[in-house]
């Protein structure tokens, strides 16, 4: 690992209902474009982007999963090793918001207890079609201990911020974690709950 040209490596997995814009968010961030006629994702897509944060090279491994039900079991196998999850819904689709508790159950069941979860409301460019109020989503996210952000993959609103803030948070947790680990060696499979730190505001 030390041979490679980065200081940190993080796995980020995007989940959420089909059609909420996960692939568009990833493509906007990694390739800087909004793909026209984006077809539904089959299985999982994998992309890498290296960013620099406070002088540190951070390699982000981004797994873009398919929202369609029949790919659920493939998606589930990626939760465990994820450092962060981006749970996405579509602000113009009440249904995609209502499915969030179901997604949270999945996270609870499969993900690492240390995982950082961000709730993302996408497609804010479609103001007139909004079905989920911002306050409602914020309240929900807070109750579940998640960060919340609204984005538009189309207009490139908050997309950079989403990934970069997340990378920052992950660096903080990693540093905090290695500090904890130096004091006591953890037992295998035993997670440590670390409070969120606001390191990059």
């Amino acid at each position: 690992m030390s041979m490679e040209d980065y200081d940190h490596l993080f796995k980020i997995v995007l989940i959420g209902n089909a059609g909420v814009g996960k692939t568009c968010l990833v493509r906007r961030f990694t390739q800087g474009l909004f793909p026209p006629g984006q077809g539904a994702t089959i299985g999982v897509d994998f992309m890498i982007k290296t960013v620099e944060i406070n002088g540190e090279k951070v390699k982000l491994q981004i797994w873009d999963t398919a929202g369609q039900e029949r790919f659920r079991s493939i998606t589930q196998s990626y939760y465990r090793s994820a450092n962060a999850l981006i749970l996405t819904y579509d602000i113009t689709c009440e249904d995609s918001f209502r499915c969030l508790p179901e997604w949270l159950r999945e996270i609870e069941q499969y993900a690492n207890s240390k995982v950082v979860t961000v709730l993302v409301g996408n497609k804010i460019d479609l103001t007139e079609k909004r079905e989920v109020l911002r306050e409602r989503a914020e309240e929900f996210a807070e109750a579940q201990g998640m960060l919340y952000l609204e984005t538009s993959a189309k207009e490139s609103d908050n997309v950079e911020k989403l990934f970069l803030d997340l990378a920052c948070r992950l660096i903080c947790e990693a540093k905090q974690n290695s500090l904890v680990n130096n004091v006591t060696s953890p037992m295998p499979g035993e997670g440590k709950n670390i409070s969120y730190l606001n390191c990059c505001s």
Binding site: G43, S77, R80, S81
Partner: protein, 779 residues
């Protein structure tokens, strides 16, 4: 010489035959030396003129011969002049003639072009007429090919010419022909459709092909392909239904029966591939390249329909959904009422992977064929068309119902395979046995056999996502479940038996009391189970090490299996490779977690089994006086007081580990032990006092110890004992100041591991060294 002439001429003209000195100037001269100078100058001039004259004269002959030659050429030149004049006259004439002709040629050319156009038009009109008549006759004779050829000819006529012709004098005749032709065209189209439909209904391949070939002549490519596909689909459906009926009837041998649905699906897909193979040439020949996609799109609809039937029957007869649900609920709640034996899932898991791999193979075949056909058809097409075609191909392949059905099956397969893996590993752990003399126990081999089997099965599905998911689950099973089992075994510790406690020679009464108390509790059974616990601990250490090795081997094997899969063209390129690489690197990183666990286990073993024994053996050193004289030294020589017994004890202590641990682990353990010994020895020596001979005795003892330890490990001992060896050197000095022979600039190759303060401390252990001398030392 010819060149020198003009030079002379120039000179001549410059001086113009006159001297550079004028006569008046001469007359004006009064001084003698002036006169002499001018005279000299004139003489020089004269000499020069003379020589020039001579040169000219010498040329005379030459010039004369040349003149003679010229005179002879005179008549010839006159002849040439005459010829030239004549030639010029001829050229002028020819020129005007040519100009005359060329304008005529131009006119001719124009006329010719017009003539051709006229002929073309006449031809077209004639063709029109010919077609009109021909179509009628052909239709009357039911010679549809001929009729279609006529219509095709008509359709490929330049429509603007026809329009022009209608405006011409013969408009009414042309109009009539056109009307007739158009009517014939419609009739022919209707007829051909009707006959093709009839042929399809009759299942008459010869007739189907006959009329199928006519469609493109009438510009009805898509309709022709659609109808032809309809025929092929009907054939396909018939065969597929028969096959499915046979499958469900189930009168096959036991072995094949286990894969009957996979076989049925294979028959269906192979059938379609054969159809494509058989009929591609006719489509290519009569419809041109780039049309295969359209045909296959139609065929795929039937393929989807038939494949779904097979899948439905599979789900129904194999109780697939139900099995999945049982698995699902027993994974959610570990204490479930209903549980499936992993072994029961074997056949159905295998069948699903075979089905998927066949579907992948089939889709890959379609991709190859369609891509190649598009490539020919789109050779000159704009980029946008090429892209559009690629996209529609992609959409056809990834979003067809067959793909969806397979994705669904794989979606259920993954949790079931995961369950199979977890349950089987749990079983292997529960049934773990180990035979005396073996280093590892059965569960390690069993566990890796299972993991490998599950991943290989996932790999055989040819689905990259399925494979990656199973690699992820394998990583999880190994890293969490299986590692935890080993961890818990290690956490039970390596028991320190009461027997050992006595051997250890615990002197304190308190601990003696405690041990006898424990002895009462344990009794013989206690000792026996303690032996088991010890063996179990050592076996677990070996297991942990083998696990970390096996993981690396597993990853390597998977890598080569995957590259085989890729070389067969599965997985769309870099993406797939990157995904697998990432999942595999997660898998391999668990190997180092097992290594960490091994290290922890060894530290534990060192702390509980070695340290408590070795420490008292070393403290025995304290009871052997090193403040000795000649007599005692000789006595020690004859009867070794400490080191030999220490070595024997170590040998006995380690024998158990040497036999019970793999060589690599044993080596690491001895390394830990030697570190421990050197540390403890150091502490002990600092508590002793030494005479000169005592120092020598210690040096001998240390040498024996180091020599022994060197034989039991492959690690270098000397480095670990460097400090002790240096302490022995100091204790062996004659005088305090002798240290300076080894210190600082005199240290030579020796690197001191002792600080100056420590050197003084060691020096002070010698009772015969005065502390003032030591203090006075400059180190």
């Amino acid at each position: 010489m010819a060149e020198s002439n003009p030079a002379v001429a120039v000179k001549r003209s410059a001086s113009a035959g006159l001297s550079a000195i004028s006569a008046e100037a001469i007359e004006g001269l009064t001084e003698l030396d002036e006169l002499e100078r001018v005279y000299q100058q004139l003489c020089d001039e004269e000499k020069q003129v003379e020589s020039e004259l001579e040169a000219l004269i010498s040329q005379q002959g030459n010039i004369e011969t040349k003149m003679l030659a010229l005179q002879r050429m005179g008549p010839n030149l006159q002849l040439i002049e005459g010829d030239a004049t004549q030639l010029s006259g001829m050229i002028t004439f020819t020129c005007s003639l040519a100009e005359n002709v060329s304008s005529k040629v131009r006119q001719l050319d124009l006329a010719k072009n017009r003539l051709y156009q006229a002929i073309q038009r006449a031809d077209d009109i004639l063709d029109l007429k010919f077609c009109t008549d021909g179509v009628q006759t052909a239709l009357r004779n039911e010679d549809y090919e001929q009729a279609a050829a006529h219509v095709h000819r008509y359709l490929s006529l330049d429509q603007s010419v026809i329009e022009l012709s209608r405006q011409g004098g013969e408009s009414s005749a042309v109009d009539a022909s056109l009307a007739l032709l158009q009517e014939a065209e419609q009739r022919l189209k209707a007829l051909v459709k009707e006959r093709l439909d009839q042929a399809i209904a009759d299942g008459d391949l010869a007739q189907v092909e006959r009329f199928f070939k006519i469609f493109p002549l009438l510009g009805l490519h898509d309709q022709g392909l659609a109808r032809f596909a309809q025929y092929l689909c009907a054939q396909l459906a018939k065969k597929a239904e028969e096959n499915l009926l046979l499958a469900v009837g189930g009168e096959l041998g036991e072995r094949r029966a286990a894969l009957i649905f996979a076989d049925t699906l294979t028959l269906l897909l192979e059938g379609i591939a054969r159809i494509v193979e058989t009929h591609q040439p006719i489509v290519e020949t009569y419809y041109g390249p780039g049309r295969l996609y359209t045909l296959i799109k139609h065929l795929q609809v039937e393929c989807d329909r038939q494949a779904e039937k097979v899948v439905d029957k599979f789900i129904q007869q194999r109780d697939y959904q139900n099995k999945f649900q049982i698995v699902q609920s027993s994974m959610m709640r570990s204490m479930s009422t209903e549980k499936i034996e992993p072994r029961e899932l074997d056949p159905v898991l295998l069948e699903v992977t075979v089905m998927n791999s066949r579907a992948e193979l089939y889709l890959r075949f379609l991709r190859r064929r369609i891509t190649a056909d598009f490539e020919v058809g789109d050779a000159t097409a704009p980029k946008s068309t090429v892209q559009e075609h690629q996209q529609s191909l992609e959409k056809l392949l990834t979003h067809c119902l067959l793909s969806r059905n397979m994705q669904e099956l794989i979606g259920y397969y993954i949790p079931m395979e995961e369950y199979y893996m977890r349950e089987s590993v749990n079983k292997a752990v529960a049934m773990d046995t180990y035979e005396k003399g073996q280093l590892t126990s059965s569960m390690v081999d069993d566990c890796f056999y299972i993991v490998k089997k599950c991943i290989s099965r996932a790999l055989s599905s040819s689905s990259i996502d399925c494979l990656c998911a199973m690699i992820n689950h394998a990583t999880s099973v190994l890293e969490s479940d299986f590692r935890e089992v080993l961890y818990n075994k290690l956490r039970q510790g390596f028991p320190a038996t009461t027997l050992q406690d006595i051997q250890r020679g615990v002197s304190s009464a308190v601990s003696l009391m405690q041990t006898s108390l424990q002895q009462g509790k344990f009794n013989t059974l206690g000792i026996e189970s303690a032996e088991d616990a010890k063996a179990s601990f050592l076996v677990t250490l070996n297991n942990v090490e083998v696990c970390s090795e096996n993981i690396i081997t597993l990853k390597k094997n998977l890598e080569s299996d995957c590259s085989k899969l890729f070389s067969q063209g599965f997985g769309s390129g870099e993406q797939a490779q990157a995904k697998i690489d990432s999942c595999l690197s997660d898998l391999v990183s668990t190997s180092s977690k097992f290594k960490d666990l091994l290290q922890e286990g060894l530290t534990e073993l060192n702390n509980t089994a070695i340290k408590p024994q070795v420490k008292p053996w070393i403290s025995n050193f304290l009871s052997i006086s090193h403040n000795i004289e000649e007599d005692e030294f000789n006595e020690y020589e004859a009867n070794d007081p400490w080191v030999q017994q220490f070595i024997v004890n170590l040998e006995q202590l380690m024998a158990e580990f040497k036999a019970g641990l793999s060589p690599v682990i044993y080596d690491t353990l001895t390394s830990l032990m030697t570190s421990l010994i050197s540390l403890e020895m150091e502490k002990t020596v600092l508590k002793c006092t030494f005479s000169r001979l005592g120092g020598l005795q210690f040096d001998k003892e240390l040498r024996s110890l180091v020599t022994y330890l060197t034989t039991v490990t492959t690690w270098t001992i000397r480095d670990k004992f460097a400090r002790l060896t240096q302490m022995a050197t100091i204790l062996n000095l004659e005088r305090v100041t002798e240290i300076l022979d080894y210190w600082g600039p005199n240290s030579g190759p020796l690197t001191w591991r002792l600080t100056p303060a420590e050197v003084r401390q060691v020096l002070a252990l010698r009772i015969d060294f005065r502390s003032e001398d030591i203090k006075r030392l400059r180190l």
